[in-house]
C-alpha cells in the first residue's frame, strides 16, 4: 500500500516540477512541520497518510538529486521479498524464527528496548494537537543512549470548536509489527502473565493500554488498560502489571461487560498521560518486557455485576 501511494504522489510531483508539496497534497498542509509532535488522526498508524508525508518530503529531495524513481520501487520490492523469504525460512526453524525449545523454556522476554534511534522508530507519539489542543510531546533518546525519554507539556485547555469540552492527553503507541508486503503481524504472549516495565517518571500517573489484533474482527476502538503510577526521583522503578488486571474499554469509556485480556494476538501497547494537571512531564523508559510470574494465579480481577449486566446472568 505504501508502494501505491508512492507511485501516485511521485508521479504527481514529477509532473508539477519543483512545486512544493503543499499545493499538490492539500491535506498535508494541516499536518506540516509546525506541529511539534508527529501527529496522526488515529493512534493506529494509517500507512497512507504517513507515507504521503514522507514521500512528499522525500520527493523534493529526489527531484533535486535526480534519483531514479524506479530504483526506489525496485528497492522496496526487493525488501518485501526478502522479508517473505525470512518468514518462510523462520517457519521451518520454529515459531517467530527461534527454535521451539527456546520458546517453550522462555520465562521472560524483552519486547521493546531503547538502545538506538531505530528503536525509537518503532513508536509513535500523539497528543491532543490532533483535535486542536495545546499539549506537546516529544520522544528522544535519553542519556548515553540507554533509555528513551518521553517529555513534553500537557495542557488541558479545551479546543474551542464546539465539539470537545475536555482535552489534554499525550500518548506514545508502538507501531504494529509488519511482515512482508506490509501485512499485520501480532505478538503472542500466551505463556506470560505479567508485563514488566523499567521506568523513571516524575510522579505522574500514566495509563498503559494494550490493543488486540484487528485482523479478523474490527476492534479499532477497543483496548485494555491499567494505570501505572510513577514514583518520581532518580531511582529506576520496576513496574509489574499482571495481565489479569487490565480492564476493557471501548471508545474511551469503561464498559460494563468485562472480559479478560487474551494474550495470543496482541497488536500494540501504549502509554497515555491525561491526568488533568497542566505542566511539563517526562518519562524515561529503559525497556519493556513480559514474564511469567509463577506466584500470580489470578485469572481476571473484575467480576461482572448482575445489576449492570442482567443478560450475562440469565
Amino acid at each position: 500500500m505504501a508502494l501505491v501511494h508512492k507511485l501516485l504522489n511521485g508521479s504527481y510531483i514529477l509532473r508539477k516540477g519543483l512545486k512544493p508539496s503543499v499545493a499538490a497534497c492539500p491535506f498535508l498542509s494541516t499536518r506540516s512541520a509546525d506541529y511539534c509532535s508527529s501527529s496522526l488522526q488515529k493512534p493506529v498508524a494509517t500507512p497512507g497518510k504517513a507515507s504521503t508525508q514522507r514521500t512528499a518530503a522525500g520527493g523534493l529531495q529526489e527531484d533535486q538529486r535526480e534519483v531514479s524513481f524506479d530504483k526506489a520501487i525496485k528497492d522496496e520490492i526487493k525488501e518485501h521479498f526478502r522479508r517473505l523469504k525470512d518468514e518462510i525460512v523462520n517457519h521451518w526453524i520454529g515459531p517467530e524464527g527461534r527454535p521451539l525449545q527456546e520458546i517453550i523454556l522462555e520465562q521472560a522476554r524483552v519486547v521493546w528496548q531503547f538502545r538506538g534511534k531505530e528503536d525509537l522508530d518503532k513508536w509513535i507519539v500523539t497528543s491532543d494537537k490532533t483535535i486542536g489542543g495545546k499539549s506537546e510531546v516529544f520522544l528522544k533518546m535519553g542519556k548515553n543512549n540507554q533509555s528513551a525519554l518521553l517529555y513534553g507539556t500537557l495542557s488541558s485547555a479545551a479546543p474551542q470548536d464546539g465539539e470537545n469540552s475536555q482535552s489534554g492527553y499525550c500518548a506514545m503507541i508502538s507501531r504494529i509489527p509488519r511482515g512482508a508486503f506490509e501485512r499485520k503481524k501480532s505478538y503472542d504472549w500466551s505463556q506470560f502473565n505479567t508485563l514488566y516495565l523499567r521506568v523513571r517518571g516524575d510522579g505522574r500517573p500514566w495509563m498503559v493500554n494494550i490493543r488486540e489484533d484487528t485482523d479478523i474482527i474490527q476492534k479499532t476502538n477497543q483496548m485494555y488498560s491499567y494505570f501505572m503510577f510513577t514514583r518520581g526521583g532518580p531511582y529506576w522503578q520496576e513496574v509489574k502489571i499482571p495481565f489479569s488486571k487490565f480492564f476493557f474499554s471501548n471508545q474511551g469509556r469503561i464498559r460494563d461487560a468485562q472480559f479478560q485480556l487474551l494474550l495470543d494476538k496482541i497488536s500494540s501497547i501504549g502509554f497515555t498521560l491525561a491526568d488533568k494537571v497542566d505542566g511539563p512531564f517526562f518519562l524515561e523508559i529503559d525497556f519493556i518486557g513480559v514474564f511469567a510470574d509463577p506466584a500470580h494465579t489470578e485469572e481476571f480481577a473484575y467480576e461482572n455485576s448482575p445489576v449492570l449486566n442482567p443478560r450475562l446472568f440469565k
Partner: protein, 400 residues
C-alpha cells in the same frame, strides 16, 4: 431537525452514562441542552429582577442567572456564598424555571468558588431539580428517554463529580431516585461510579495525601520521603525561609533547603574515592497531585553494565552511579546548592576532599549535560529548541 436533535441527545446520554473520563482518542461530548430551555426562560423574564448589566467582556454573552453569582461586596468567593447563590435561585421562582441552565452555570462556576471537590455542594445542586416530575410513569415513558435534557443535566453533574474524584453517597442515591427514578441514566451512572471508584480506590502504590501542605518546607519533606524508598533515610532541614510574612518578594538569599540522606548513602559517600568527582544534577521535577517541586540530586555517574539475575531478562542493565543525597531547595542557583553541600559536609566529613561539579539545567525535567566545571547553569534555550526541531523533522520523515 427534531429527529436529529433527539438522536444526538441519545448518543450523548449513552456516552455520558458510562464512567471513565475520555482520556483516549475519542473525547466525550457533553451535550448542552440550551436549545430547548431558552424558549421557556424568556417567558419569565419579568419574574427575575434584572439588574443593570455591567460592561465586562462584550464578546461573551451573559448566561441567564449569572447575576446570582456576582461576587459579594466583600469579595469572598467560598462555599457559603456559593450555597447562598444556589438557594437564591429557588427563592425567586417556585417552579424552578430554567433550572437546567442554572445547573450548568453552577457547574462551571464551581471551580472559581473552590467547591469542586465537595460532595455536599453537589448534593445541594442536585436538590435544585424538581422532584418526582421526571420519573417515568408508564411503559411508553420508560421506553423513550423521559425528559432527556434533564437527564443529560443530571449526567453532567455526575460526570463532574467523577472528573474530580468525588465519591457519591447515599444522599446522592436518594436524590437521584427521587428525581429520575431507578431505571434512569443518571442512576445507571451512579451505580457504575460506585463500582469502579471502589475498585480503583487503592491501586496507587505510592499514595499522596489529598491536602498537600502549604508550607514549602513541609512540601519538600513530603516530596523527598515520596522519592526515597529507603525508610531509614533522615531528612534534614538546613535552612528555612526566613521571612514568613514577606510581601510577595522572596528574599533570594534565604530560600529553604531540605535534604535527605540514608545511612547506606552516607557509608557509600565515606568510601568514595576522592579522585573521582561528584556531580550535582538537576533540577528535576516531581509532581505531587497537582503541585510540582524541583529537586537536584548528588550522584556519581558511572555507567557500568550488569546482568539481570532474577528472571533472566536478556538485556544489559544500565547502571547509573550511586545516588548520595537529594535535596529540595527554593532556588536552584549554585549559591543555594553550595550551602546544601556545606550542610552535608557536617555529616559526611569525606565530602571535603571530593570535588563537586554542578550540572544544572534551566528548564525542568530535561537532562542536559553541560560541560563540567563550576559554571553558571543552563545552556541557552534556543539551542534546545533547535535540537528538538531537528529531531521532530527526523521523526516525521521516519514514519513509514
Amino acid at each position: 431537525m427534531l429527529a436529529r436533535g433527539l438522536s444526538r441527545g441519545w448518543r450523548g446520554i449513552c456516552g455520558a452514562a458510562l464512567t471513565g473520563a475520555p482520556f483516549s482518542q475519542v473525547p466525550s461530548q457533553v451535550p448542552r441542552g440550551l436549545h430547548c430551555s431558552v424558549a421557556t426562560h424568556s417567558s419569565d423574564s419579568s419574574l427575575v429582577p434584572r439588574p443593570p448589566e455591567p460592561l465586562r467582556q462584550p464578546a461573551k454573552p451573559l448566561s441567564p442567572h449569572e447575576e446570582l453569582f456576582r461576587p459579594a461586596p466583600d469579595g469572598a468567593r467560598d462555599k457559603a456564598s456559593f450555597v447562598r447563590a444556589v438557594q437564591n435561585f429557588g427563592q425567586h421562582n417556585v417552579h424552578k424555571r430554567g433550572h437546567v441552565d442554572f445547573i450548568y452555570l453552577a457547574l462551571r462556576k464551581m471551580r472559581d468558588y473552590g467547591v469542586e471537590k465537595d460532595l455536599a455542594v453537589y448534593n445541594l445542586l442536585l436538590d435544585v431539580f424538581p422532584k418526582e416530575v421526571f420519573r417515568p410513569r408508564n411503559v411508553f415513558q420508560k421506553i423513550f428517554v423521559h425528559y432527556p435534557r434533564q437527564q443529560e443535566c443530571g449526567l453532567a453533574v455526575l460526570e463532574q463529580m467523577e472528573n474530580h474524584g468525588v465519591m457519591p453517597n447515599k444522599e446522592t442515591e436518594f436524590l437521584l431516585v427521587q428525581i429520575f427514578g431507578r431505571k434512569s441514566y443518571p442512576m445507571l451512572k451512579f451505580v457504575r461510579m460506585k463500582l469502579w471508584f471502589s475498585r480503583f480506590k487503592n491501586i496507587n502504590p505510592f499514595p499522596v495525601p489529598r491536602d498537600l501542605p502549604k508550607d514549602p518546607v513541609d512540601l519538600a519533606v513530603l516530596g523527598l520521603r515520596h522519592i526515597e524508598p529507603d525508610l531509614s533515610a533522615r531528612v534534614t532541614v538546613y535552612q528555612t525561609a526566613s521571612s514568613k510574612d514577606s510581601t510577595g518578594t522572596a528574599d533570594p538569599t534565604q530560600q529553604h533547603i531540605v535534604g535527605i540522606q540514608s545511612p547506606d548513602q552516607q557509608a557509600a559517600l565515606a568510601r568514595h574515592n576522592p579522585a573521582r568527582p561528584i556531580f550535582v544534577e538537576g533540577p528535576f521535577s516531581l509532581w505531587l497531585r497537582d503541585r510540582c517541586v524541583y529537586y537536584p540530586i548528588q550522584l556519581d555517574l558511572k555507567y557500568g553494565r550488569g546482568g539481570w539475575d532474577d528472571y533472566e531478562f536478556d538485556i544489559d542493565e544500565v547502571e547509573e552511579g550511586p545516588v548520595f543525597a537529594m535535596c529540595m531547595a527554593g532556588a536552584h542557583d549554585q549559591a543555594t546548592l553550595a550551602k546544601w553541600i556545606q550542610g552535608l559536609q557536617e555529616t559526611n566529613p569525606a565530602l571535603a576532599q571530593i570535588p563537586v561539579i554542578f550540572r544544572l539545567t534551566g528548564s525542568s525535567g530535561e537532562l542536559l549535560a553541560s560541560s563540567s566545571g563550576l559554571e553558571e547553569p543552563s545552556p541557552p534555550p534556543p539551542q534546545e529548541q533547535e535540537e528538538e526541531e531537528d529531531h521532530t523533522q527526523r521523526q516525521q520523515q521516519g514514519q513509514s
